[in-house]
Structure formats: structure tokens, C-alpha cells
């Protein structure tokens, strides 16, 4: 069983004008497709890993054989991250904004949605080079306490990757800050891209991510 490129839940132009059509097209059909091709290639001779599914592969990235470790981390990470990313975005008219248990948790852990956004934006802007910014649900093993946190990761690392990342947990929201995610429209102006991105956040999907965590 090979991994395959998931379809976008919307048209390539659905996130206009915040994320442009050309970027969505290249990002999905080229960049994400390449991660899919490469993870399949890397796992060709390792059916036991292929059988785990993409989420578990990410969780167990530290225990992958040396010969494929880098390829799996970069491409397994890339495939999961982008699959996640397409789903937590939507046409602005399709979302009702932050609500329910997720909104309550954000208010509890950050004070307000705006305060959370400020921290998220700062993390996204400060990630040097390529990487991602995340809103993560972190669970304390000992106390059972659940807390939302902001973090960023380099390259295609994500919070699923235990023993590899600083903050490990369940991603609720994630933002790609690799230059390919924004350069055609925003060039060097990453903060502008980050601000604009909030317009296309699929809060219902984020809420689902939170409720299932």
C-alpha cells in the first residue's frame, strides 16, 4: 500500500486573495506530490514501516533505520504536514470562526484568541529558514493536564515526532512558513502572509482536531 496525494477539499482558487491560486497549485501538485513520491520510495524495502500509516511513521521517526532516517523524517513529515495543512484551511465564507471547546481552551490558555494569534504570529515570523508554526495540544502524562501551546519546528519536523521536537503533542493548527508557501505573492514579506492566513483558517476542522485529541 503506497501513500498518495490527497485531493484538496476545495478549488485551487478557493483561498484567494489570501493564498494565491498559483501557489496552491504548485504547492499541492509539485511540492506535496514530491514528498509523497519520496516517502514511497524510501519505504519501498521497509513494508513494516509502510504498514504503520503516515501518522505513526511520524510518531516513530526516531526509530526508523539509519539508512532511510533522513528521507523518512523529511518526506514522511512533509506528507503528513501538507495533508494536515490543506484540511485546516478553507474558503473564508465556509468557516464560522473559533467556537466551542477549542475557543474555551484558547481563552483559558492564552487569555483570548487574539493573544493566541499574537504568539502564533511571532513564532511563525521568528522561525529561521524553512519550517512550520503550530498550535499544539500538550498532555502532561503525570497529571493528565491538557494545555494548548505554540511552537515552531524546522524543515518538515512536526509535533508528532517524539524525541525529535521540543514540544510534542497533537497539532491543532499549523502554518507552512517555507518560502514556497508564500513567495510568489508575498515575496520576503512573511509577516503579511502570516496575518492574511488567518482569513482562511478552517476553525471547524481545528475544533475537530482538538476534540479528537
Amino acid at each position: 500500500m503506497s501513500f498518495s496525494l490527497p485531493e484538496l477539499p476545495y478549488g485551487y482558487d478557493s483561498l484567494e486573495p489570501f493564498v494565491d491560486t498559483t501557489t496552491m497549485t504548485i504547492h499541492h501538485t509539485k511540492h506535496h506530490q514530491t514528498y509523497v513520491n519520496n516517502i514511497n520510495k524510501a519505504l519501498e524495502d521497509f513494508p513494516e514501516f509502510k504498514g504503520l500509516g503516515i501518522e505513526d511513521i511520524n510518531a516513530k521517526v526516531a526509530s526508523v533505520p539509519d539508512s532511510i532516517a533522513t528521507a523518512v523524517r523529511n518526506n514522511g513529515g512533509g506528507h503528513w504536514n501538507h495533508s494536515f495543512f490543506w484540511k485546516i484551511m478553507c474558503n473564508p465564507s465556509s468557516t464560522g470562526g473559533p467556537a466551542g471547546a477549542l475557543k474555551e481552551a484558547i481563552d483559558k490558555d492564552f487569555g483570548s484568541v487574539d493573544a493566541m494569534k499574537e504568539k502564533f504570529n511571532a513564532a511563525a515570523a521568528a522561525r529561521f529558514g524553512s519550517g512550520w508554526a503550530w498550535l499544539v495540544l500538550v498532555k502532561d502524562e503525570a497529571t493528565g493536564e491538557r494545555r494548548l501551546q505554540i511552537t515552531s519546528t524546522p524543515n518538515q519536523d512536526n509535533p508528532l515526532m517524539s524525541s525529535v521536537v521540543d514540544v510534542q503533542g497533537t497539532p491543532i493548527l499549523g502554518l507552512d512558513v517555507w518560502e514556497h508557501a508564500y513567495y510568489l505573492k508575498y515575496q520576503n514579506r512573511r509577516p503579511e502572509y502570516i496575518s492574511a492566513w488567518w482569513n482562511v483558517v478552517n476553525w471547524e476542522q481545528a475544533g475537530e482536531n482538538f476534540n479528537k485529541a
Partner: protein, 236 residues
């Protein structure tokens, strides 16, 4: 009580002090930094359109005026903070500033070299003399070196640089890559002779996701004379 200036040690590591700039052939210390150790954006040795059609003018302008300028501005700001922290004896703060200085200092160093390592397609003359001898000795041929360079550089994950470096200990040419803006000499000891930026901002507007196409074309604008000068300075 005499205090060793760790600030000057750090400055030397990122090559802001004059001793380091002597390795950078063709750029006087004043183009890399102005008076009192402030970094400044060097002018390009050519127009923004000079590397067309290998690198389009829009990329050159953004790359120089925005990206490189930002490294310069940020480096100066962090060096100021570092000086204040050193003055206050706040070692913790000095350490906390290290990664920002590496990012922005590396970015400034790397791009300052980059502009000089490139030249208009018409002015790019193939390597000759000692440089060519060493390339052929250490790689077999120029084509083989380029093939190795492109293979390793295309494979850089995320943002980084590909380098032709000189190993002073073994007197050998090496192909190497660095992540983000890590400066080659400070992090590996290799002397940078040729560096190619493979951050997406260096090529995306023109080549999109096809980094290998950019790497194929870039050799048409390599300033081999500058590469030879750097080798001369490094091996003398």
C-alpha cells in the same frame, strides 16, 4: 580588572573584523562594515539586470534590497544588544543572542560573498591555471565537480547553501553544504571559494520548485576569477 573581550572574539568568528575580510577578495572592509564595526549593505558589482536570463532582475533586487538588507539591519541590532550585554556582564544574555548573530551574521557574510562570486553571463570565463588544476586533481574534471556540487546542493533540505570549499589542512577542494545561513568557515573550517544560495527566495520566482534547473543554469554566471582569487588568498 582586565576583561577579555568576548565580543571581539564573536565578531572575529562571524568575520566582521578586518582580519576576516582579507579572505574576501575584492571587498574592502568598508563595504562589509562601516566605521565602529557597523555592518553595511555592499553594492552589487553589477546592475540588477546583469545576470539575466540566468537570474531575473526581480529576484536580484529583492534578494539584495530586501533579504540581504534585513540581515544587515538585524545583525547591527543584535551586535548592539550583544555589546550592551557584554558591558553589563550578562553572560546569559550574550549566549541567548548567539543564534540570532549566527543567522544574521551568516546571512550578511554569505550574501556579501555571493554577489562577488557571480558575474554577467558574458563575463564568465572558465576556470584555468591553479584553480583548474586543483579541480581536475580533486574531482577528475570540472563537469564531475559540477555534477557532485549540484547533486549535494539540490538535496539540501529546506534552506541552505552549496559550497566549493578549500581545506587548508589537506590542501584539497571539497564540495560541502550548510543549513540556513550557517557560515562555511566558522562552522566547518573550510574556506569558501564558491557558494550558491538555495534558499527558495534565491530562485523561486523564476524556477519555482525546480531547484535542479536553477542549479543547471547558475554555472553560466559563476565568476571563476573571483573563485580563483579566493583560492589564491586561502592557499598563500
Amino acid at each position: 580588572m582586565a576583561r577579555r573581550s568576548s565580543l571581539s572574539t564573536i565578531k572575529r568568528m562571524v568575520g566582521v573584523l578586518p582580519e576576516q575580510t582579507s579572505v574576501i577578495a575584492g571587498s574592502s572592509s568598508s563595504t562589509l562594515h562601516g566605521s565602529r564595526g557597523k555592518a553595511t549593505l555592499p553594492d552589487l558589482p553589477y546592475d540588477y539586470s546583469a545576470l539575466n536570463p540566468v537570474i531575473i532582475p526581480e529576484i536580484m533586487e529583492l534578494h539584495h534590497k530586501k533579504h540581504h538588507q534585513t540581515y544587515v539591519t538585524n545583525l547591527n541590532s543584535f551586535l548592539e544588544q550583544l555589546a550592551e550585554a557584554e558591558h553589563a556582564g550578562d553572560v546569559n544574555k550574550m549566549i541567548a543572542l548567539q543564534s540570532a548573530i549566527k543567522f544574521n551574521g551568516g546571512g550578511h557574510l554569505n550574501h556579501s560573498m555571493f554577489w562577488e562570486m557571480l558575474c554577467p553571463p558574458g563575463s564568465s570565463e572558465p576556470p584555468q591555471g591553479k584553480l583548474l588544476d586543483m579541480i581536475e586533481r580533486d574531482f577528475g574534471s570540472l563537469d564531475t565537480m559540477i555534477s557532485k556540487f549540484n547533486g549535494k546542493t539540490a538535496a539540501v533540505q529546506g534552506s541552505g547553501w552549496g559550497w566549493l570549499g578549500y581545506n587548508t589542512e589537506s590542501d584539497k577542494l571539497v564540495v560541502a553544504t550548510t543549513a540556513n545561513q550557517d557560515p562555511l568557515q566558522a562552522t566547518t573550517g573550510l574556506i569558501p571559494l564558491l557558494g550558491i544560495d538555495v534558499w527558495e527566495h534565491a530562485y523561486y520566482l523564476q524556477y519555482k520548485n525546480v531547484r535542479p534547473d536553477y542549479l543547471k543554469e547558475i554555472w553560466k554566471v559563476v565568476n571563476w576569477n573571483n573563485v580563483a582569487d579566493r583560492l589564491k588568498n586561502a592557499s598563500s
